[in-house]
Amino acid sequence: MPVTHADACLVWPIVAPLATALAAFVLGGRWSTRLGVAVVPIVVAATAVVTWRVWHHGPQTYSLGNWPAPLGIELHADGLSCAMLLMSACIGAVVSVYSVGYFEGSTTASRGQPQKDTGAQFWPLWLMLWSALHALFLSADIFNLYVTLELLTLAAIGLVVLTGTRAAVEAALRYLLAALAGSLLYLAGVALMYGAHGTLDIASLGRSVTADASLQAALLLMMVGLMLKTALFPLHFWLPPAHGSAPAPVSALLSGLVVKGSFYILLRLWFDVFPQEFTRPLTLLPAVLGAAAILWGSMQALVADRLKMLVAYSTVAQLGYLFLVFGLARPGSDTGFAAWSAVVLFALSHACAKGALFLAAGTILHVAGHDRIRDLPAVSRRLPTTFFAIGVASVGLMGLPPTAAFVAKWTLLRVALGGGHIGLAVVIVLGGLLAAAYLFRVLAAAFTQPGVVDTNVSYRKVPRWMEYSTLGLALVSLLLGLASYPVIELLRIGSPWSPPIVQEAAP
């Protein structure tokens, strides 16, 4: 087989951050920041190259070690992976820029011990998380996906405990145990699938699976495990404390990207591997839980008293929308593709908007030392850019007309009504209203004159790029709406609804 170097581009989004993480760990100190920033353009470029190739040449497959699929592990990029990679690159780049300011001189003294340079610890962990995400989005092997899931979890845990507070440690332990339970359930599914079909490759599994009892059990185990890792209601108990107590850039990463990792696996397995006769009877379960998550998460966000907790509960709610896909997208039908691509579009839009909101909350916390919602008016005068970013991100999150979230929700509503799911349609609308309600609690602060100007509180100065990067991400969430057509076209490449020419391209 002639070796083409062009498809090697799939390796770089994984290897570049991983290698940099190692260098950042060894050199430490200021070098870790420099290296962390330096690798951002490389990763973005690598992602762009992958997307470009997929756009022009269809899905790409790369056999690692030149051992083709059933024996070795393959990387696989199609439209869905590219969309996820682009999301990860975009948010990762912004968070990297933001973190330079956020961790600058942020040495936390812990109980008389030598001060720890949180920034120097942040970069290796974050770069490994980035690498793990890309490895996850590109993997075509169900066991390798397990390893990437664990890599993702451990990196996330390391990032959550960076602050070292008791709340963070407790949240991290809760998160770790929930995540471990989730990956074990997933791994049990992998064991059953390997035992029954003797292969781990997603494509060969998709071809060889037959509807039998072991596959049904594997589906249930994997589904529950991945739902736990994606924090679907009622398995969301670990998410708000972890996302609420982590440092702001970390919360943005967790809410925007990390939970999407396990969702991505579920999405892929559901539509690429499991036959319809299994998934069909189960469609309502994730969809109904998703609907419940929308309502429950929104209610909790309405009563939260801290901004970060509000945003974290909003994540619980918004993740609910993602699970509507299993109820609405039928393989084979054209509305199926509409619903499927709408949900992915919604995930992208949510990642940007939620990321921006968490970064903004982090800036507020950094400046004012608190993020109590009722005391926000006093802060809003000092941070006009940040509050503007909150406004823009809120528009993106509520799903007002020009945004991608609007396009996505509108499509979902249409499909739901067309399929006769009146209940789901009502929840979609209601969720939007509730989101508006809890986000207005925050926005109100920006338009309210502070009653009492608190002179006792000393406000810290904030580096400009922290504010600008937040605003940039918020604007991306807004502009994604204009780009939704090309994104949907990208998603069509290699999707279960794409014309079957693609299969011949990769024999």
Partner: protein
């Protein structure tokens, strides 16, 4: 012969289950942990019976040896608060979630019967459901598997498990080493704990000379396990686990342990992953793919990667042990300076 083996299997598996239940329900945690160590040893026997000797080696070294030491160490630190050591229940309360949203039972020394009933129902129904699926799989004569025989000839090694780990699925192994790295990063960032002087038994001449005698053997056996890994059960992880266990032995005795500079230690920690990555990228440059070895070089390259991995992973395992240790006499100096770029307090004051 077959009947005595069948009985052997039956007793072994029954004991495994009973010990597992006892780990969860034994009143005191120390007993649970000793039983967990026993569980690891039993499991290692089970791997041997299943013909998975590579796994048995790893389980014996990691599962029973190191994990047990980690747990014992952790439990010891929770009782380290002088003479007013908290009884088990207080640890329960402290250890349980504070804002309790998990379906936990009330912290009591022993689980009440309702809890046991609920536990039994859940465990029983999950078992029944999964057994209904696994039994047909286990008795079916048709066992699909990935064909490796032909590829083995080009793999550079003759032990199929090593071939899968370091050649066919080397990418998994690469990421797995990254997982270990992450664990070290996280654990060492958590280690800035209190320095409490250990009131444990001092290590007398017997222990010291035992360690001195056994360490060379540990190193020798590790080298043997590493070297034989290409053609017989064994390999980098098993060797590293042995070396790591040796390091732990050295750490817990008062013997002079060879200390190395912080920088060197960091380099050694990442060396395994770095060399692995470099070899992978080298495969790419040589007109091939990432992690591809030219067949003529495969054996040499795999041995190289395995050797460096052994050193790195051994160090990682020792660091993980340090991370769960009380930062007492030997811990503080090693652990607190482990955070990359940590600035000593003194030099900060001087600059400001």
């Amino acid at each position: 012969m077959d009947s005595s083996l069948a009985w052997f299997d039956a007793i072994l598996t029954l004991t495994l289950v009973v010990v597992a239940l006892r780990v969860l329900f034994a009143q005191d945690l120390f007993q649970a942990i000793v039983l967990f160590i026993v569980f690891g040893l039993l499991l290692s026997l089970a791997w041997c019976r299943l013909g998975a000797v590579d796994v048995a080696l790893a389980e014996a070294a990691i599962g029973a040896g190191l994990t047990g030491a980690l747990f014992l160490n952790t439990l010891a630190t929770t009782r380290r608060h002088g003479d007013q050591a908290p009884p088990a229940e207080t640890i329960d309360r402290k250890g349980a979630w504070v804002d309790d949203k998990l379906p936990t039972l009330r912290p009591r020394p022993s689980t009440p019967w309702t809890g046991r009933l609920a536990f039994g129902l859940v465990a029983g129904s999950v078992t029944a459901w999964m057994a209904a699926v696994v039994v047909p799989l286990a008795v079916s004569s048709d066992a699909p598997r990935i064909a490796i025989d032909e590829a083995m000839l080009r793999s550079g090694v003759t032990n199929p498990v090593t071939a899968v780990l370091l050649n066919f699925r080397a990418y998994d192994t690469l990421l797995e080493v990254a997982v270990l790295m992450l664990a070290v990063l996280t654990v060492s960032s958590l280690t800035a704990g209190s320095a409490r002087v250990s009131k444990a038994l001092p290590s007398g001449p017997v222990l010291t000379s035992f360690v001195r005698l056994i360490l060379p053997v540990v190193v020798m056996v590790a080298v043997y396990v590493l070297w034989s890994g290409t053609k017989a059960p064994g390999g980098a992880f098993q060797a590293a686990a042995l070396l790591g266990a040796g390091g732990v032995l050295l750490l817990v005795t008062d013997t002079q342990s060879p200390s190395c500079a912080r920088y060197l230690r960091r380099v050694l920690l990442v060396a395994g992953l770095a060399v692995f990555l470099l070899v992978g990228l080298g495969g790419m440059l040589g007109a091939g793919r990432f992690l591809e070895y030219p067949p003529a070089w495969a054996g040499v390259l795999i041995t190289l990667v395995e050797t460096v991995l052994t050193v790195s992973i051994a160090l990682v395992l020792v660091m993980l042990f340090v991370g769960t240790s009380p930062t007492g006499a030997e811990g503080s100096a090693r652990a607190s300076d482990e955070t990359p770029g940590a600035t000593p307090l003194v030099s900060r004051e001087r600059t400001s």
